[in-house]
Every structure is written in C-alpha cells, then in structure tokens.
Amino acid sequence: MSDSVDPMNSPDPVEQTHGPMTGIPALAQAVSERKTGVASSVLQRIRDTQPRSSRLPDATFRVLILLTAASVFAIVVFVVWELVDKSRLSLHQFGIGFFFGHNWDPVNGDFGAMPFIFGTLVSSFLALLLAVPLSVGVAVYVTEMCPIRLRAIISFLVELLAAIPSVIYGLWAIFVLAPLLRDYVEPFLAKTLGWTGFFSGPMYGLGMLAAGIILAIMIVPIIASITREVLTAVPQNQREAVLALGATRWEMIRMGVLRNARIGIVGGVILGLGRALGETMAVTMVIGNRPEVAKSLFAPGYTMASVIANEFSEATGDLYLSALVEIGLALFIVTLIVNALARLLVWSITGGTTGRARA
C-alpha cells in the first residue's frame, strides 16, 4: 500500500501542467476542504484547474441532464392532471363511491370500478404466485448448476419469451391453454381443491385462472433475467466462503447466493408486477370480460386495462367516457399503491441498509 499514490496528498499531473499560478491555490483549497467531503473537493479542484472554455459544455450538460430528469416529473404531473381533468364529470357524479361500486351499466349510466380493480389485482397476484418460484428456479439453475453450453440456450429461450407480442400470447391462450384448462386442469382442481371455493363453478377454460397463467408466462422472462443478472453479480468468494464452512450446495445457494441477492430479486418481481398490472391484450382475450367479483378462479373477470381498451372507442355520452378515464385514474392509483407497498417490503427486508448485490 505504501507505494500507491494518495490523490489527496500529492500534487497530481494536471496541476503540474498548469504551473504554480493556478495549481497552488487549488491545492490549498483542496486541503482546506478535506474535512467537508472528499468527492466535492475533488470536483472543485477539477473545476478550478480547468480552463474557462471547457466549463461551458459541463454546465450545458448539467442543465440538459437536469431537464431529462425533470421531464419525468413533468410527464407524471401531466398524466395525473389529464386523468383528473377528464374524469371530473364522473368524479363529481359518483364521488369516492366509484372505486367501490360493483355496477357497470353503460346503458343506464351507472358506473363502479370495483370488479375491474379486483380483476386487475387478482390476476396480477395470481401471476406473481406462479411466476416468481418458476423464474427464481430458472435463474438459480442457469447461474449455479447449468453446463455452460445449455446456459446460453436457456437464456436465449427465456429472452425469446419476452419478445413475443402479447396478442400472440392471447391467441395461444384461446386455442391451446383454454382447452387444456377446461378439459384437464380445471376438472382436476375442482376435484382436489374444490372444497376451498376457489376452484368451483362452470369450467369455461377462460377466466381468471387462464388470465393469471398467461400473465405468469409473460412476466417470467422479466423476473428470470433480472434475477439471473443479480445472481451473477454475487461475488464468487461468497459462494466459496459458504462452501468452505461445510455447506451443501443447496445451503450455499440459499445462504450464499439468494440471501445476498434478495433485494435485486424483489426489484425484478416489482418490474414483473408492473407489467402484469398494465397488460391488456392477452388478458382481454382470455379473462372472459365479465365485470363481477367472484371467489372462484374459474369464473370470468375483467381488468381495468381491458375495459378501457374494449369500450373506449365506442363510448358515447360524456359520463360514460368520463367513467372510463376515471378507471384509468384508478389504475394509476392502484399501481402507485402497489409500488409503494413493494418499496416498503424492500425496506423491511433490508432494514434500511443497502444490499450488497443490487439489480
């Protein structure tokens, strides 16, 4: 260590090329700032030693970057403003009851968002329930156990899943998944788990269960590839340390890898959830599009994104349109709440500290 140069204590080459006139005051200032903060003093020194002409690009760059960051705020504010403004009629008519109303009757102008909020949440969480174990399993296998040659193939296939357009998923679900569910899976579930009440009623093949499964398939690539990246980022010596303590392979993965990577995995899950909440086309094609709150997963449901996509183009009447925009507002709020809860979850896992391996 003794032969390495400490940048704070020795005059660096930049100063020497500029001569004593600029170098000495800069150095003095740097020394005086040592206590307040290393990073800022280094920046200050760089700034002071730069010729004036190169400061302008820096300033311009800073403003530009600031603008791009600010544009995110501007877009969010604008979206919220538009949603509130355009749904004013419906907000005024139904008040807060809109979010809890169960009726959706365009003919008589009575609107409530509950069945759609329910459908969005249930289908998304069902998707997470199925997708998270699957994607973490895929990622663990690929990073920890897989032969190199197979690794490339599996990774490619997982990423291929992400590239398939959602309408293709929807068609596949109608023609392949739904008949499978109707003829084999649903009768089996009804026989074995029918007593719970979650798997009962007529079996259409289409419905909440089909929507959850198709969403799960669609978010697996997102969660799996992020988890894979995070697992790869876990330092090799963590694994070696755990193994050296006499852990089995499973214990090594559990304690040495997954534990370190948990924040990154949660991050991937949140991204997947975001996709599931907003997915429209594939869900619309298989969920059955029936606005009701049913306990059984066999029953058809409806999601917020689907009802907007389905009814917006033919919506006549101001109140009807306004109610549809308010559904958009509800979707925005639900997404916000779910994301906030997920953030809280991350905090509670980490106990406020940052993790070692992040996405």
Partner: protein, 335 residues
C-alpha cells in the same frame, strides 16, 4: 446554393400537389370500413383531385369528431340520440349507405342441423332464463333436432360495437324484460355469459366452448363459413340471414325524414329480423363550402355507383326506393 435551390423546388412541387388535391377527412364506424375504403379508392381513381381519408375509429369516436367539427364527415352504426343531436355544434344528416345483419352462431355437440331461434328463445337465453339446450322451448321450435343435455354458455362482444347495438336493439324490441333490464347500446350490462373481443374473439370462443351461443356479423360468418341459425321474424317465418333477406328488412320499413330508423324486427315475410343500416353523418351546413360540396358529390356518387359493389364484399345493398329517397334528401338538405 444548389442545395437551397433544391429545397425551394421541392417546396414548390409539394405546394402544387397540395393545390391540385383536396383531402376529405372522415372517421367513424369500423363495420363498414371495407366497403367505404373500396368506395373511396374507386372515387379517387375517377376523381383524382379528391382524396378521402377515412379512419375507422369506432362509431362513438365518429359521432364525437363530427359533433366537434374536426372531420368533414362521420360514420356510425347506431343513429345519434336526440341528446347527441342537441349537443352537437354541427347539424348533420344521417345517410344510410349499406345494411348489416347479425346472426346467432352456436356450438352444440352432436347437432349438425340448422337451429331455429324464436324471439323467446333468444331473449330467454341472453337473459339467463334458458340455460340448457334441452329446454322445452328450444325443442318446441326445433321438433326435428335432438338436443343434448348441455348447459348454454352465452358469448357476447366485450368491446363496444355496432354489432352489439343491433343485437340489443332487436332484443329490446322483442322482449320487454330485456328493454327494462340491460337495454340497448354498444356496450350493455350482460346478465350472463363471457365476452370476446371483436367478431373473431366471439367466433373463437364459440368454437372453443361446447354448448355456446353468441352473435356475430353476417359478413364475418359468411367469409369464415361459420354455421348460424335462422331467426323467426315478425311475420312468423324462420329466416336465415343472407344479403337478400337483409335488404328485404329495409324494404318493409317506413322511412322517417331524418333516416334515423331502426329496422330490427321489421314487417315483411322475407325480412331477416336482426338487421340495421349503417350511416354516414354529413354536415348539412358545412363551414368549408368547397369541401362540403365535395363531400356531397362523393356521397351522391356512392349512392349511385357504390351500391353495386356492396354485395361483392358481403354487404347488403339498400333497396332501390330507399336509395332514391336518400338521394333526394341529400340534394335537398345538404348545402
């Protein structure tokens, strides 16, 4: 220097193009889009100075755009309501162009014959009162067909659509319970069943679900060779929908002066009962007189020359006497 010259030349070229050609903007119903796009491209071939740009954004969008005056003409599958007309800044004439019909399509295991539907059966099934194919009401209307003991799954459109409007308009006319319950509209609160997106979604679900019954556009059923049933009309005859029986539905109806008329369940022995006009919405007093004149010419041309192209695309043409009435109204009312 050469570069700027080139820019100027291009600008002049573009400007002359724009001068020589006027674009008429229209928007609205998706159902007549194939026939409209054929008309408009044919019209452009014959009148190179007029280009018609029609966007099939849906009837609701068409009505809104024409109300706001952002398009030169609109199009809709369901006529504007009195409130919509009162709220509109632009006064419009409803111009019927072609006819569409909606047919009941089904998937009943073991049944290959054509199923006959009475009004009671259709309303009963869609209200959820008839829930099994072995129901005596169905057997009574179809004495020669053996129905299985199979529950009925109703399939309806999930997207707002003119097809749903025609079908629910029919149900409202033949069933007071339907009228007092779900009512008529592009989207309604369906008492039973599952929703499919678009004709293809409904047809796909019918194919997939044994025991299902849904409704689809006649055109879609004809082009995709989907089996559908016949429906009992007001004269008591079971009529299978085709282009002739659809045109016949318009022939027996008394036309009001503004052409906003529902022709579901019409009188007439050969009329198919679930049919409707689709309309162009033409501003009667356009702000841009030159464009207004072009729209008027184009509509009159379509009524004269377009009806003959309709059946080639599986649309039912208007009856001759309706065409004459509509032409007279366009000539008289559109300034």
């Amino acid at each position: 220097m050469i570069r700027s010259l080139r820019v100027i030349l291009c600008t002049i070229l573009l400007a002359t193009c724009a001068l020589a050609q006027t674009t008429l903007n229209g928007a609205g119903a998706t159902f007549p889009y194939p026939i409209y796009s054929k008309w408009f491209s044919e019209y452009h071939n014959q009148h190179s100075d007029v280009q018609v740009n029609y966007q099939s954004i849906g009837s609701g969008g068409g009505i809104r755009q024409v109300q706001a005056g952002t398009v030169d003409f609109g199009a809709t599958d369901g006529p504007m309501t009195d409130e919509q007309i009162a709220a509109s800044k632009v006064k419009v004439l409803h111009v019927p162009t072609v006819l569409g019909a909606v047919v009941p399509a089904y998937n009943i295991p073991g049944v290959t014959q054509e199923v006959k539907f009475t009004t009671e059966i259709l309303a009963g099934i869609f209200l959820g009162r008839i829930s099994n194919w072995s129901d005596p009401a169905i057997a009574k209307a179809n004495p020669d067909t053996k129905f299985p003991n199979q529950s009925i799954t109703v399939v309806h459109r999930s997207d707002g659509s003119g097809t749903s409007y025609i079908f629910t308009d029919y149900l409202s006319k033949v069933s007071s319970d339907w009228q007092g319950g779900p009512g008529k509209g592009t989207s309604v609160k369906w008492p039973v069943g599952v929703g499919g997106k678009g004709n293809e979604g409904v047809a796909g679900m019918i194919r997939q679900l044994p025991g299902s019954l849904g409704y689809i556009e006649l055109i879609y059923a004809l082009q995709n060779k989907i089996n559908y049933g016949s429906v009992k009309n007001a004269a008591g005859q079971f009529i299978k929908a085709d282009l002739d029986s659809t045109t016949a539905a318009a022939a027996g109806v008394k036309m009001p002066a503004d052409f906003r008329v529902s022709i579901t369940n019409p009188p007439g022995k050969t009329a198919y009962p679930i049919a409707s006009f689709t309309w162009l919405l033409i501003p009667t007093n356009p702000t841009d007189k030159a464009k207004g004149k072009m729209v008027k010419d184009m509509v009159l041309w379509a009524l004269d020359n377009g009806e003959g192209m309709a059946s080639g695309l599986s649309y039912a043409p208007l009856p001759k006497e309706v065409v004459d009435k509509v032409k007279a109204a366009v000539n008289q009312q559109v300034k």
